[in-house]
Symmetry: C2
Subunit: 412 residues, 2 copies
């Protein structure tokens, strides 16, 4: 394909992760160093920043601060949850995007996000093709949920998984110090896919993790759950449970949202999350000391426990997006393929059509969940363990994190 000169835009979308900025760094650094790319813009709050023509000139940033993006959690450029219309129904946004692209001579568009963001990316790609505006569009994957279709795993997942496993190991130490026994219920993110909750099994693999793990890939049965917990508590005097926020009954209703149920005794106003609610039910049933812990936002921004493998792969994904686009490729998402080099885990990038990945969801395979539906098999451990390896050398200032400080100079 012919060389295409022009500016590029990088946008971040959806929920933050510990390494989404590492991907942004991969895009920005590679783009700044590219001869084809004449300007590198960061969109403020993803596609919303494009629509508002609020683009930061990344060439104005200090190189060292850009480098620090590798260790800065959350979305440094700002994120959005903006659902773009179907262009056949309403093309207002698309016309505006084209206008802004033309104004800044944008010929490369990189969008970093999860399922919904790949849908946005796909629609923009197809629109630009339709109107004949030459712009190479590449999706850069990101999600702690690890539910993107077609890729072995997603940047962001491993660091959250490592945070979850480490925190479970620590809480395990804490939640059994008294001789009086305790039941501890840990609520982990993942509305539809159980990848994050399954990561708690890594803690168990290393001797200090949950006895029971419930994923949204299986229907939740409160009676079975209570029986499981009682059995373990009786046997061991303690019990640690990991539950996905997305666990639901057979009828599809979320356990976290159930208003009243004869089985679980929920007749409460809805304060607190799932962990608090389950803790309440278990307490009523067993009379034991019970504590519910919600890992909340901590698990998706815990960059101090990031996996070096994850950081490196996140940068690689961003770099691959730019390199492939400059080489003439468009309308793809960068994905990961797992392999081995000298018998050890290795990961390389591949490209998937945006149409294929948009809105598709990858769940934990049923065969990786045990027959009882309260744990995962060793297949999961084999899958997840290589991903969390490696300790990054985290930049610190007075023993606290030194995150990137961007100037965010708006392009004229």
């Amino acid at each position: 394909m012919s060389e295409l000169k022009g500016a590029c835009i990088i946008g971040q979308s959806g929920g933050p992760t510990s390494v989404i900025n590492a991907s942004a760094y991969g895009v920005i650094r590679t783009a700044l160093d590219s001869d084809c790319i004449t300007a590198v813009y960061g969109a403020e709050h993803g596609i919303k920043g494009v629509l508002a023509d609020r683009l930061f000139d990344m060439s104005k940033e200090d190189a060292r601060e850009l480098e620090l993006l590798k260790y800065t959690p959350s979305s440094a450029l700002g994120s959005c949850r903006y659902k773009i219309a179907d262009p056949d129904v309403d093309d207002t946004d698309y016309k505006r995007i084209l206008e802004v692209f033309k104004k800044h001579d944008v010929r490369y568009f990189f969008y970093n996000g999860g399922n919904d963001s790949m849908d946005t990316c796909n629609k923009i790609s197809k629109y630009m093709q339709k109107v004949g505006y030459e712009c190479r569009v590449m999706g850069v994957p990101k999600t702690i949920d690890n539910d993107l279709y077609g890729t072995d795993h997603c940047p962001g997942y491993a660091s959250a998984a490592k945070y979850i496993a480490t925190s479970c190991m620590e809480v395990y130490q804490d939640a059994r110090v008294y001789d009086t026994g305790m039941i501890c219920i840990i609520e982990i993110m993942g509305r539809h896919a159980g990848w994050l909750t399954a990561a708690a099994a890594l803690a168990t693999e290393y001797g200090a993790g949950p006895d029971l793990i419930y994923l949204p890939e299986r229907d939740f049965d409160m009676d079975k759950f209570l029986a499981d917990v009682e059995r373990v508590y009786k046997e061991k005097g303690n019990c640690m449970v990991a539950v996905s926020e997305g666990i639901h009954y057979a009828d599809g209703s979320f356990v976290s949202e159930a208003k009243t149920s004869a089985t679980d005794g929920f007749g409460h106003a809805q304060l607190g999350g799932l962990a608090a609610r389950l803790a309440d039910v278990v307490k009523q049933k067993t009379g034991a000391k019970v504590r519910g812990i919600e890992l909340s936002l901590l698990q998706r921004c815990g960059a101090h426990l990031a996996s070096e493998t994850d950081i490196e792969e996140a940068v690689m994904a961003g770099r691959a997006a730019v390199e492939n686009a400059v080489a003439g490729i468009t309308d793809k998402m960068v994905a990961f393929e797992r392999g081995t080099v000298n018998g050890r885990y290795a990961c390389k990038t591949k490209l998937l059509p945006l149409t294929e990945v948009a809105n598709a969801e990858k769940k934990v395979p049923q065969e990786w969940i045990n027959a009882e539906g309260n744990g995962v098999t060793h297949d999961f451990i084999d899958y997840a363990l290589p991903l969390i390896q490696g300790e990054p050398k985290l930049p610190k200032e007075d023993s606290l994190p030194r995150f990137a400080r961007l100037k965010k100079v708006l392009a004229k």
Copy 2:
């Protein structure tokens, strides 16, 4: 004083911390290396293990595993919350303790804990004196709450403070990525003293922390709180708040336990903690997106964020207890005195009479809290910052924590 030959017991008591085992290591290692001390026993679940004559022979442990105690959170020997009787009212326990001490020729007793534990330690010390049984008794301080009397700070506090400050900095990044604004309320431990909650100000000092901080040292006013939050949210479009679990109204009732109030609209069953409840009130008042996060057990067992200074001082406290006891001193608690060496923070041990520290509580000085009662002054930063310094080289196994694995061989 004369040389005293005999066995020693180390017991852990009260809530765990990230470094209580580092103090245990300081005691155990120094005692094992001492010529005077003929056997080193770890009491299972603190004083309860003494009463039950369940003592672990620490000489049976692998030296490397003992060393790993420095990086293992929670109480490795097991803890208890056992309130020992007044010996003048009921001396049953004391007679039993004496019996066990005599059986194993225990001449040194080291008790590692907070306020209540120092009370236990003090009572045992006085009883042994009264009955004329020669046993040197030393308290080793421990508490994330930092509320022990007479010591500059307590082992365990700094690591929890570092966990809190780091987590706040990360959540700060996360809780402001969208252009839609958000209010985030973080609940931090500390029932009576605000030292831990104040640590969130370290995050603010480094550019990414709470806008508002409420300690239990000041009466809480819900109307004032809501006005504070609304003001900041209006000004900045985001607001981050740190609250101590122990905040209470002027009448002394805990905000976390208030059943119904015209002001706060609490008419709910009590699920979830303070953060969830305050989030609910703020949401009703402002209509903003609000998230409550409880740091829960994570903050007291987050050894992966331990302060190296804290670890070293915790070991030093344990070592000092043994060295002083062997040198003939008894009936004291090891405490810390802050000084400077070449203009830099330095810490040395001193000894306080157990009677003085038992049950006394040290709170955040009123003059370190701002006039509005919603933040701390720079005096606090100057106090806390040196304590959190230094990154321990954490032992890992496949990138997960490698905690000490004790054999716990019971003494005959």
